[in-house]
Subunit: 115 residues, 2 copies
């Protein structure tokens, strides 16, 4: 109330939701970890580490690429995927900003709000 209905969502919320969507599948979380922790980058290698078909892994890679969290360098018939550090960093900063707001937000517990 007082604050007018936005009729849309904020840019910040749309961005964060989009990043969250890209992270909303266990396979995609694990792909990101595989790309950082292991000396591996090819789609085929990732397929061997996940219980999914090649075409499915390819789709997950596409989704991660869509939001910019990873990038793929074409190497002849192969593609070398890797983390896009700057995008990842930007995403993390926005996530931190969100959670800092959510956690600092004075102890407005249910008890406090009840009137």
């Amino acid at each position: 109330m007082a604050i007018a209905k936005t009729e849309e969502f904020t840019q910040e919320a749309v961005y964060l939701a989009d990043i969250a969507k890209a992270l909303s599948h266990p396979a995609r979380i694990q792909i990101l970890k595989i790309l950082t922790e292991m000396d591996v980058c090819m789609c085929g290698d990732i397929v061997e580490l996940l219980p999914l078909a090649q075409s499915t892994v390819s789709q997950h890679l596409k989704e991660l690429k869509r939001v910019g969290l990873i990038q793929g360098d074409i190497e002849g018939p192969k593609v070398c995927y890797c983390i896009n550090s700057s995008s990842l960093k930007k995403a993390y900063e926005q996530i931190q900003k969100l959670f800092n707001q959510l956690t600092k937000g004075g102890s407005k517990s249910c008890e406090t709000k009840k009137k």
Copy 2:
């Protein structure tokens, strides 16, 4: 290679993906912000701040409640929603853990991996 196919996903990845799924819609991001920034807690109040029908907002609240990020205290016919600080904190810690791993992961760029 070397590491056997898991045949499933890790517990950590499943948990993080579930939290991310709850955050994967702009309305739900904004609901969390509304609950922390404004002195508001009722479903009806939130409906007025979002371009969505009451039943839709109720569904979003249900999804946030499902993963424990918020809780709802019944107040007669009303329900006072608020952030569940401990769950939110736990989620944030896991997210920080993930991103710290992803960002620190030595500069294994595509260039580095190409062999």
